[in-house]
């Protein structure tokens, strides 16, 4: 064959192959870069949602109450969809279309989580106007309220949504709880993002309904923790600026306060009286009279609770193997095989203790299970099968220790394949939880520092501050909205550890860190503030009558 012919044959073979390869590789590149850009958009939208949640909770006095929290979450989910819709508008998806591709949004909270996901509306047909037939006794359908109000419109219906409508909304709160069965004991332990637990059920043939913090290393009556004296002087209160509705003169003004059950009680030195502020109203607290510091109370109650758990309820040898699912079937070694409340090597509050391992395992098991059900149950009628993606270990680390939002976006076509992405954004600036790193340290120069700032001199420490109290707050007057900083009296944050963060020591365990620093004044301020802020949080289990009993005059 002539060389020319060979050349022609070569071209005939190679050219199409090369063209197809070219197009194929080009497509793959496009698909993958589209995937990366979708990932970024999803991350951004999730961050927007989190920011909305953060802003709403910081500026609300009632954000820790369930119905108010639900409202904040609905608002945050709206922000997510708005953000994702505006991010995707460029490629022609609008908000309604995108909602079909979001099988779930998960809001992990202090002791449980909300799943915001699409559901099918079920509408009960019976209504209050149904009539019982006096002869047969059968229930006959009466007119709907709307039909009675609009006699001209026989088609009028009461409900906005019809039976079978596809809607999106927040599903009921799911606690991080686990059921344990051991002999005749059958009870549920609800865990949280810190060492607070709730125990409910039958133990030693009696009903138990108890909650509290688990802590080791507390001295008698809670006066010391890890050998450090906890401040018991009730005149040592933190103070902050607050806008008092209806007050004359300087306003916002500085008042000392203590926080209990999510409510701040301010002390007015002039009138020697206590008051609180809720929903823009000032409430006088006439009989309020603290007898001890909140921090002292925290350690005292934690000691009593930990002893009750181990000795009275005899849970010292409760094993991870005793865990069962909701049907009472043993989970085996899924949650580990070790004694939960007894650990010879670690204190119960340490991050590597048995209790903490169990806590993380339960939270993870619960989220994984409920989320995969929510995602699998969701089917938008298309031919895409929604599935829960496998989350990586480092992603679980983020979820298990912080308030976070997990968002899923699945089923969008991105050229060669179907997009299946998720994003996890965590947050440590909210009213939900007091993390170990949320406590800042105030020094004598009026500046506050991260607790692990290596430049803090022990003798310059004044007190610990909860980082949320440093955030800007708003109040409304007749002529508009105003902003103020509650900690206005301070000189601001330490530049090196708050803004630049170059002088921050690496630590995962603040208990060890404080011990390494010599358990001096820094540790005292830190643990006092940690106890104070944790005890002051709103807890579903807290009984208002008991708070009254402990903190009010009789």
């Amino acid at each position: 064959m002539k060389l020319q012919n060979l050349g022609v044959i070569f071209i005939i073979i190679i050219l199409p192959i090369s063209m197809i390869l070219n197009a194929y590789v080009g497509n793959q590149v496009k698909t993958l870069s589209l995937q990366a850009s979708y990932d970024t958009k999803l991350n951004n939208a999730t961050y927007d949602a989190l920011k909305a949640f953060q802003l709403n909770t910081i500026n609300s006095d009632t954000s820790d109450l369930a119905n108010s929290k639900l409202r904040d979450i609905e608002a945050s989910a709206n922000t997510f969809f708005n953000s994702i819709a505006s991010n995707f508008n460029m490629v022609g998806y609008n908000r309604d279309i995108l909602a079909d591709y979001v099988p779930a949004l998960v809001y992990t909270m202090y002791d449980g989580y909300y799943i915001y996901s699409p559901y099918t509306n079920t509408l009960d047909n019976t209504n209050s106007n149904d009539i019982e037939n006096p002869i047969t006794g059968a229930i006959e359908m009466g007119p709907s309220d709307a039909q009675i109000l609009n006699p001209d419109n026989p088609e009028a219906v009461d409900a906005t949504y019809k039976e079978g409508d596809k809607l999106s909304g927040v599903k009921p709160y799911i606690f991080y709880s686990c059921r344990y069965i051991r002999g005749s004991d059958d009870f549920v332990i609800t865990y949280s993002l810190d060492n607070y637990i709730t125990i409910q059920g039958v133990i030693n043939n009696g009903w138990v309904n108890d909650a509290g913090y688990l802590l080791d290393n507390i001295g008698t009556d809670g006066s010391t923790y890890r050998g450090i004296t906890i401040d018991s002087d009730i005149s040592n209160m933190a103070s902050e600026q607050v806008y008092v509705p209806g007050a004359t003169g300087e306003n916002p003004r500085e008042y000392p306060y203590i926080r209990l059950n999510g409510v701040k009680y301010y002390y007015d030195k002039e009138s020697k009286s206590w008051f609180s502020i809720m929903n823009g109203e000032k409430y006088k607290q006439d009989n309020f009279e603290p007898k001890t510091t909140v921090a002292r109370q925290y350690y005292k109650e934690a000691k009593e609770f930990t002893e009750r758990v181990r000795n009275e309820y005899k849970l010292f040898d409760l094993n991870g193997m005793d865990a069962v699912d909701e049907n009472g079937v043993k989970l085996g070694e899924k949650l580990g095989n070790y004694t939960i409340f007894t650990d010879s090597n670690n204190s119960i509050e340490d991050s590597n203790s048995n209790f903490n391992q169990q806590r993380l395992a339960v939270i993870r098991y619960s989220i994984e299970k409920n989320l995969s059900i929510a995602i699998a149950n969701y089917n938008n009628g298309g031919n895409y099968d929604f599935q829960m993606p496998v989350l990586k270990e480092n992603e679980w680390d983020k979820i298990l220790n912080h308030v976070s939002i997990i968002s899923f976006l699945q089923g969008l076509s991105i050229g060669g394949k179907i997009y299946n992405g998720h994003s996890i954004i965590t947050n440590n600036k909210n009213q939900e939880v007091v993390n170990e790193e949320s406590i800042y340290i105030l020094t004598k120069d009026g500046r506050y520092h991260r607790a692990n700032d290596r430049d803090i001199a022990d003798d310059s420490v004044v007190e610990g501050i909860f980082n949320i109290d440093l955030e800007r707050k708003s109040y409304t007057k007749d002529d508009g909205e105003y902003y103020f900083f509650p900690k206005y009296a301070l000189n601001g944050g330490c530049y090196n550890c708050i803004v630049r963060q170059t002088s921050v020591d690496e630590t995962e365990n603040f208990y060890q860190y404080m011990a390494g620093k010599g358990n001096g004044k820094l540790a005292q301020a830190y643990f006092t503030a940690l106890g104070r802020e944790r005890y002051g949080m709103y807890k579903t289990y807290n009984n208002p009558d008991r708070v009254k009993e402990e903190w009010y005059k009789h």
């Binding site: 020319q4 050349g7 590149v29 990932d39 970024t40 961050y47 440590n428 790193e437 900083f485």
Partner: protein, 175 residues
């Protein structure tokens, strides 16, 4: 004579067609794949720093290793815009009523590397902005071939480049 000339021309043409053309196409594809690898690695590296609030030597090492696996050497440029905001402070420059009047100061590659080498980690806070870009500094096979055949001018032209940036979403803590 004429035939010999044509044969020589054809041999030259066929040589180009049979060797150089496939070589160029394949090296172009290799560049595409490298481009993709670098883009993906950069996005992952930045997004990881954004969501954890930490830029670690470990992650940086992995990132550089990842992009170097394409067989080229890269110039990696990083910039961190640190939000110069002091929560709770008495505001003088910025008004407390306004949002978005924030002041940022920048840290560039060498400063970031200094920090990473001494501490192993650069901690970021919510609101900081991080951006990373990578460009190839050695010329790829496809670039060399192109330079040889169509002599594209300039030494600093690059064919693989990726960049990604974003706002940090979490305060970095712990290891």
């Amino acid at each position: 004579m004429g035939d010999t000339l044509i044969t020589v021309v054809v041999i030259a043409l066929v040589a180009v067609l049979m060797f150089v053309f496939p070589l160029m196409t394949m090296s172009d594809r290799t560049d595409d794949v490298s481009q993709l690898t670098v883009e993906t690695a950069t996005t992952e590296f930045v997004d990881n720093a954004r969501t954890t609030g930490k830029l670690t030597m470990d992650n940086y090492g992995k990132y550089v290793e990842n992009i170097s696996s394409t067989g080229n050497a890269y110039d990696v440029e990083m910039e961190v815009k640190v939000l110069d905001e002091n929560p709770g402070k008495k505001t003088t420059q910025t008004q407390s009523k306004k949002i978005g009047e924030n002041v940022y100061y920048s840290m560039y590659t060498s400063q970031i590397m200094d920090q990473l080498e001494t501490n192993g980690v650069l901690t970021l806070k919510e609101g900081d902005i991080i951006s990373v870009s990578a460009k190839n500094k050695t010329s790829t096979l496809s670039q060399q071939l192109k330079n040889f055949f169509y002599s594209v001018a300039g030494n600093d032209t690059y064919s693989i480049a990726a960049e990604h940036a974003g706002i940090v979403t979490a305060n970095g803590v712990g290891k």
